[in-house]
Every structure is written in C-alpha cells, then in structure tokens.
C-alpha cells in the first residue's frame, strides 16, 4: 500500500511542476499567442495528472469509488473544455486583428 502513496505524491508533484511552467510562460512570453500556448497546454495536463493522483490515493486508502469517479469525470471535462476555450478565444483575438510576435529585424 505504501507504493500507491508514493505514486500519488509523484503525480501531484508532476502536476505542480506543469502548473509552475505554465505560470512562468504566462509571465515571460512576449505576445498573446505564445502566452496562450503556455497556459492552454500546461494547465490542462497539470489538472489531469493531479486529479488522477488524488483519485488514486482516495480510491485505495478510503475506498470511496463514487467520489473518485466524480473526480475523473471532472478531469475529463477540464481535458475537453480547456483546449476548446483556448481555441475560441485565440480565434476571437485573430479575427480582432492581434498581430503575432515576430523578431524585430524581420519586420
């Protein structure tokens, strides 16, 4: 049973790592599209991995199957909804005329 705990902790820590990289990308990247690329992919994967780790610990130590299934349903919903929202707002920005970032000497 101890191995399940270690696997769960590792999953949650990997999720924290992807959250941190997404946040650094949101702060550091130069224009709107690259910021959206960082948060849209990093946060989606981080939510999926973190909720899978938490549900794994919960289903083995507390035996609550229904709550774990609900957690997995939330993870799958975020996995479908977050890229959709990213695509929608990116298309809106493109149609509003936000220019992608290029290097200065190429202009």
């Amino acid at each position: 049973m101890e191995i399940i705990k270690i696997i769960s902790i590792v999953f949650v820590l990997i999720g924290c790592f992807f959250f941190a990289t997404g946040t650094i990308g949101l702060i550091r990247f130069p224009d709107f599209y690259s910021r959206m690329h960082a948060t849209g992919k990093g946060d989606t994967l981080a939510v999926l991995i973190s909720l899978m780790g938490i549900a794994l610990y919960h289903i083995f130590y507390h035996g609550a199957v229904l709550d774990s299934i609900k957690l997995i349903v939330i993870a799958v919903f975020v996995f479908l909804a977050n890229p959709t929202a990213t695509h929608a707002i990116s298309r809106a920005a493109f149609r509003c005329g936000v220019k992608p970032w290029t290097r200065e000497e190429n202009k």
């Binding site: 949101l26 910021r35 959206m36 939510v47 929608a88 809106a92």
Partner: protein, 88 residues
C-alpha cells in the same frame, strides 16, 4: 498526507499571486481574460485539496464541478463577445 496537501495548496496559491501580475498589468484585455482562466484552473485543484483537508470531499465535489463549468462558460462568453464586436 494532509500536510502534503496543505503544502501543495500554499504553492498553488503563490502561483495564483504570480498570475495576478498579468491580470493587473496585461497589455490587452484578452490577456486578462486568459489569466483569469488560468487562476480558475489553479483554484480547482486548491478546492479539491481543501475538500480532502477538511474531510468533506463529497460536499466539495459539486462545488468543484460547478466551478469548472462556470470557468469554461465565462471564457467562452468573452470570446464570443469579442468576436462579435470585431475589435479589442
């Protein structure tokens, strides 16, 4: 395990504070909307961990589900509004 969850929650709250920089000083309004969406995604995980710390996860799960729906619908509504308006 509760102390580990508490440490992860504090780490995610510090990431939310970093994201607030982009909300306050964002160059365009779409940057602010994306940052609020990212903050909502981190709040989702913090709510799950709070549910386990307080041992009331069956109550928190419905709140988490509604929060995920509202985060998605809010971003989508903002996207449709700006697409219809045609300018930032």
């Amino acid at each position: 395990m509760e102390s580990f969850y508490l440490g992860v929650s504090i780490f995610l709250c510090s990431l939310v504070l970093i994201c607030l920089y982009r909300v306050v000083f964002g160059p365009t309004i779409i940057d602010r909307i994306v940052s609020v969406g990212a903050i909502g995604t981190k709040t989702l995980i913090v709510l799950v961990l709070m549910g386990f710390i307080y041992k009331r996860i069956e109550m928190f799960l419905d709140i988490i589900m509604v929060y995920a729906f509202l985060n998605f619908i809010g971003t989508l509504a903002a996207a449709k509004y700006f697409e219809g308006r045609g300018e930032i």
